[in-house]
């Protein structure tokens, strides 16, 4: 396979990243998806749209987010210098708000008056509920019953913000089923509803649009590393569920050939057990939720339920651009078990006074096992995509403590 001149030009006009992506949706939704694409293309070229978004990112979200040198973690591990991109310090506590603000501004331009979203960990749900409150729009968030149970604090937050949280009882009652239910809602409410997808997944233009709104993470990280260290990092890494924080972190570095890039999936109880969410490492290409991508499925093409301690990574699909980057070999994908993620969750809390989201703890765990093999003058930038307050109940349970 020949190496492209740039890894940053995708998708093509049909929304394909190589063999991945596309628009695999019911005919009822096709006109809506095409309308959304046109509206987004127009907005993207409109300086007033970007200006309004930048203003909100600065004054409402608190960007830019710091790039923090994790000194004690670095010392403890004894290897490369570790920098944390602090998306956990954003308003609402995760990177999800970057994308939700972009999409709600687009919804307003399109004259849509109702928002819907799916959520796994609840971070995207909270971010959507937040922008719905900020702009006075009614909002329904679909959330699997299993996730409602393990992310109670976020369920309360969404309700407090005025959003209706609808429990999803079908299938595995997690993120994939929440997405099915949100798509069903959209089909039934075509004229007034805007579907804010939180992952870099779904039909075109969502994977590209979500990525564009999240690249603020990687752009800032790139500039901050250059400013602090006078050079680019040697390794950039982030956790991958659907893959929105990761693609936002990675994309600005894709053409910097000297930068190694690692995505970190959830291996659950082990990537070689049946209970994991390591889609890129263990899955095969298939079609789910509007796009062709790697997928956890059986040989009959039925989707297999994913498993991870982290609700945000508990998804049997992955964004199409990640699938393409894997096949191209530009990004390498690894996986981290529930237990390794919990150890990293504890370590970062004790060493740096930062409680990471269980999702982000997967990326930290990968850094903890990779940094020792790297020289002390090497630099790692890891995306700390969210804070862990929402996870204290499930983490305590996993650690055998009662709150």
């Amino acid at each position: 396979m020949s190496t492209p001149n740039s890894y940053r030009t995708g998708p093509d006009i049909r929304g394909h990243f190589g063999a991945y992506g596309g628009r695999f949706v019911a005919e009822t939704l096709m006109p809506l998806v095409l309308e959304l694409e046109r509206a987004y293309e127009t907005a993207k070229r409109d300086p007033s749209f970007q200006g309004e978004l930048d203003g909100l990112l600065k004054h409402y979200v608190g960007r830019e987010s710091p790039l923090y040198f994790a000194e004690r973690l670095t010392e403890h591990i004894g290897g490369a210098k570790i920098y944390l991109k602090r998306e956990d310090l954003n308003h609402t506590g995760a990177h999800k708000i970057n994308n939700c603000l972009g999409q709600v501004l687009l919804a307003r331009r399109m004259g849509k008056t109702r928002l819907i979203a799916e959520t796994g960990a609840g971070q995207h749900g909270v971010a959507t509920a937040t922008v719905a409150a900020r702009f006075g729009l009614p909002c329904v968030v679909y959330m699997g019953e299993v996730d409602i149970e393990r992310q109670k604090p976020n369920v309360f937050r969404m309700r407090l913000l005025g959003t209706e949280v609808r429990p999803v009882k079908s299938g595995s009652r997690t993120l994939k089923d929440a997405m099915n239910e949100a798509l069903r809602d959209w089909v039934a409410n075509v004229s007034d509803t805007f579907y804010i997808i939180g992952s870099a997944a779904g039909p075109h233009p969502y994977p590209a649009m979500v990525r564009d709104f999240q690249t603020v993470i990687g752009k800032e990280t790139r500039a901050q590393t250059l400013e602090r260290e006078g050079r680019l990092p040697d390794l950039v890494t982030a956790c991958v569920g659907g893959g929105s924080n990761a693609i936002g972190m990675f994309h600005p570095f894709l053409d910097d050939r000297e930068v190694e890039i690692h995505g970190v999936e959830a291996a659950g109880e082990g990537a070689d057990t049946p209970r994991h969410a390591a889609t890129l490492s263990k899955g095969t290409p298939g079609v789910l939720h509007g796009a062709r991508s790697y997928l956890l499925q059986d040989r009959d093409g039925q989707v297999i339920e994913a498993h991870s301690i982290s609700a945000g990574l508990d998804y049997p699909g992955v964004g199409p651009e990640h699938s393409w980057l894997k096949d191209e070999g530009r990004v390498k994908y690894f996986s981290v078990t529930d237990k390794e993620a919990l150890d990293a969750f504890v370590a970062l809390s004790k060493l740096e006074g930062i409680i990471p989201a269980l999702e982000s703890a997967h990326a930290v765990a990968h850094v903890m096992r990779t940094a020792p093999g790297m020289a002390k003058d090497k630099l790692i930038a890891v995306c700390l995509s969210g804070r862990g307050d929402k996870d204290v109940f499930s983490a305590a349970a996993a650690l055998g403590e009662t709150i």
Binding site: A26, H289, Q302
Partner: protein, 269 residues
């Protein structure tokens, strides 16, 4: 002439609309589906839509979601569905069978092999809900090679520009989704559907079937007065799932189908 074209030509001559029942293959087990397939033509089915169960049926409401799950739990797979079709074709050479489902099981099976195997088993057409015209060349080309019709869907959101995209490559019949919504949830407004069907028929030479909101013989008759076919899915699947004993459920389902067929066939007096 294909079985689908022949069937619609006969019905046109008789000035009758087709009754098209939908079943999820393998719901609740393969034997029930085999028994229903065998008896449906005598109950008045003109075309049969056989649902291929999928774990994530995004365009379906609760009734068909539940039926897909029952079928999957009972071990239904594409090869077993083809076996059901082969069994049916031993006795019935005229009733068209259309497979309706989602793309991923076909993708996993392999599109070329799928087209060849389903055509050989005796399937006549394919409705793949999440494979819009922009993406369906992967299936359309092998399907054409095996003389399978790709049945396209038009919906309340299909404007004129979109309709020309939908019609390009459409075969068998057009399927008009009478509501903006998932299967078996809302009710259609007759006048809206009548206008939409007239528009589709003037834009295309294909017969036009209507589905996604027809639950009663009265509704089937209302649609059959102007459309070429009335498709009923969720309401049939619900009968099949109701609590009674298995033999009774089967009889009840077939009686319901006969009532729907009678209403559809008598609609134009």
């Amino acid at each position: 002439m294909s079985r689908i074209a022949k069937r619609f030509a006969e019905l046109k001559k008789q000035n009758r609309a087709a009754f098209v029942p939908f079943l999820t293959a393998g719901d609740p087990d393969a034997e029930t589906t085999a028994a229903l397939l065998e008896k449906l033509p005598a109950a008045g089915a003109d075309v049969i839509e056989l649902g291929v169960p999928f774990s994530d049926p995004m365009a379906d409401g609760p009734a068909i979601q539940a039926s897909s799950l029952r079928a999957l739990n009972a071990g239904m797979t594409l090869p077993k569905i083809l076996e059901l079709v082969r069994r049916f074709r031993k006795h019935d050479h005229t009733t068209p069978i259309v497979l309706m489902g989602y793309y991923n099981p076909i993708h996993a099976y392999g599109t070329a092999r799928f087209a060849k195997d389903v055509a050989e088993a005796g399937v006549d057409g394919l409705i793949t809900v999440d494979l819009p015209p922009e993406e369906d060349d992967v299936l359309r080309l092998p399907a054409a090679a095996h003389k399978l019709d790709i049945v396209r869907l038009a919906t309340p959101t299909t404007d004129d520009a979109r309709l020309s995209v939908v019609l390009d490559g459409a075969g068998g019949f057009l399927y008009y989704v009478s509501i903006a919504g998932v299967t078996g949830t809302k009710s259609f407004t007759e006048s809206d559907v009548r206008t939409a069907v007239a528009r589709l028929k003037s834009a295309s030479g294909l017969p036009c079937a209507v589905g996604f909101g027809i639950k009663t013989p009265e509704q089937a008759a209302a649609i059959a007065a102007f459309a070429d076919a009335a498709v009923v899915g969720s309401a049939i699947v619900e009968r099949l799932a109701s609590g009674a004993e298995k033999g009774e459920r089967l009889r009840d389902t077939l009686e319901f189908c006969a009532a729907l067929a009678q209403a559809a066939h008598a609609a134009r007096g």
